[in-house]
Subunit: 97 residues, 2 copies
Amino acid sequence: MEEVETCPAQRLLKMLSGKWKAEIFRLSVESPLRFNTLLRQIQGSNKQSLATALKELEEEGLLEKTTIKLKPLHIEYNLTEKGKALIPVFQQLEGLS
Amino acid sequence: MEEVETCPAQRLLKMLSGKWKAEIFRLSVESPLRFNTLLRQIQGSNKQSLATALKELEEEGLLEKTTIKLKPLHIEYNLTEKGKALIPVFQQLEGLS
DNA sequence: ACAATAGGTCAATTTTTTTTGACTACCCTG
DNA sequence: CAGGGTAGTCAAAAAAAATTGACCTATTGT
């Protein structure tokens, strides 16, 4: 399908609007995320959806994936600077809810 | 389906993320909107989608519908105060795009 | 060695969103 | 009174997003 891209905020807005993204984002502000922990934290979600959401947030440059090579050897997702720049946007949205 | 509503920004975010909403919003900042004009302005859109988007934006309290009872007798959609409060949110989003 | 945990992928299905086309009804102009 | 503009609605179809269940690999703990 032909994407025409008129409004500059549209793409970002659409990317953020997936069913679990806002919640993932909110949790990422509190602490680094881990996949299975997230799966347990967000009731009603599922692997596939979380995997897709995390990948898209990563591709958008809002989260970054790090392999922690010590002790239990796991993966962490952290907010990037661009991600942190979105915090006030969420706060404003919450203020209007 | 059971909606659980965890993140407060989620509902608003989802409501704003429809395919044509950002563009409708952007145009509404410039001037009052009229249905058929919008249909011509937003290439690729269609009646049904615009009607749905306008209704949802209205229900959310971001736009208000007014019947202009003079001259050509038509309907206008204008940004409400709540709608105007969203302008800086869009600006921030555009800044990050 | 065995089972559990972590972090996923894939294909198929279901649900939601968007689009299409047909159809209304009310003015206004020539 | 015919044609055009305005502002829609409705049902059906198509497209996109979300969910399910099976499967997979690697690392740990016992």
